[in-house]
Amino acid sequence: MSIWEYANPVKFMKTSSWALPWVSVATVISLAVGLIWGFFFTTEAMNFGSTVKVLFVHVPSAMMAINIWVMMLVTSLIWLIRRHHVSALAAKAAAPIGAVMTIIALVTGAVWGQPMWGTWWEWDPRLTSFLILFLFYLGYMALWGAIENPDTAADLTGVLCLVGSVFALLSRYAVKFWNQGLHQDSTILKVGEKDPLDPSYYIPLVICIVGFVLLFVTLLLLRTRTEIRLRRLKALEQRERMA
């Protein structure tokens, strides 16, 4: 019994169909609890007023935006090294989720920045690197969409994901450097950083993070199943045309 068994599409379909109901129920519960708690039952923070409630959607989505790219990197590597098709399809299935998470993080950040910083958009290192990350997601998805042959597409997007990861990291540090050069004292996000967070915010935040992770898993399973079915459909159509 090893994890590689799930590289078999049949085995994956079987296990995922068993797991899906559980994961989706857990997603709904944790998201509902976390978001309702965060929205209705948290008090105003000293410096942020009620905008502290934005924390519960902004932080998890931002975390997921990065983590999903890392997950794509891992699955791409598995595909490139061990040629497991499910792995490549999982990377393909994850990209749109990651892109949506990036949009959410940017939108909630902009909405929060408007009253707190007095501007919708600031060329702050964090914001800028997220915008760049979003561009990488777009390029990745566009490349998947552009190539006909599925194996070629999987290979090329895998290589792109590797190179993109390096450059996304590099951009992150370059952008940090760049903005320090522009103005020394830029506004820094204090929430969720070093200052200890009050437990009354911490607990719902953790629940929300768990909820976002579970939501990602649910959507990922659903989308990967769709991709596997699509692959089989294409194969069957091909066979029919050959016959």
């Binding site: 978001l35 929205f39 209705f40 039952f41 105003e44 007023g49 009620s50 905008t51 409630k53 934005v54 959607v57 902004h58 989505s61 749109p96 989720i97 949506v100 949009i103 959410i104 939108v107 909630t108 909405v111 929060w112 408007q114 009253p115 939501l215 959507l219 659903l222 989308r223 199943r225 769709t226 079915r229 699509l230 089989r232 459909l233 069957l236 159509e237 066979r239 029919e240």
Partner: protein, 52 residues
């Protein structure tokens, strides 16, 4: 029912809409596409079985 949000009410509500909206769209799109592909695959398999 609504909590007291003070002067930042719009900000908070907008950010929650901005989160739940895209997530809902993504979920519905995922489910819709999943159902479509599943139906297409079932139809294809049915047809192939009939034709032998």
């Amino acid at each position: 029912m609504m909590p007291e949000l003070g002067k930042y009410a719009l900000t908070v509500v907008l950010s929650y809409i901005g989160t739940l909206g895209p997530l809902a769209v993504l979920t519905i799109w995922t489910l819709w596409r999943g159902a479509k592909v599943k139906a297409a695959l079932a139809a294809q398999e049915e047809r192939m079985k009939k034709n032998g």
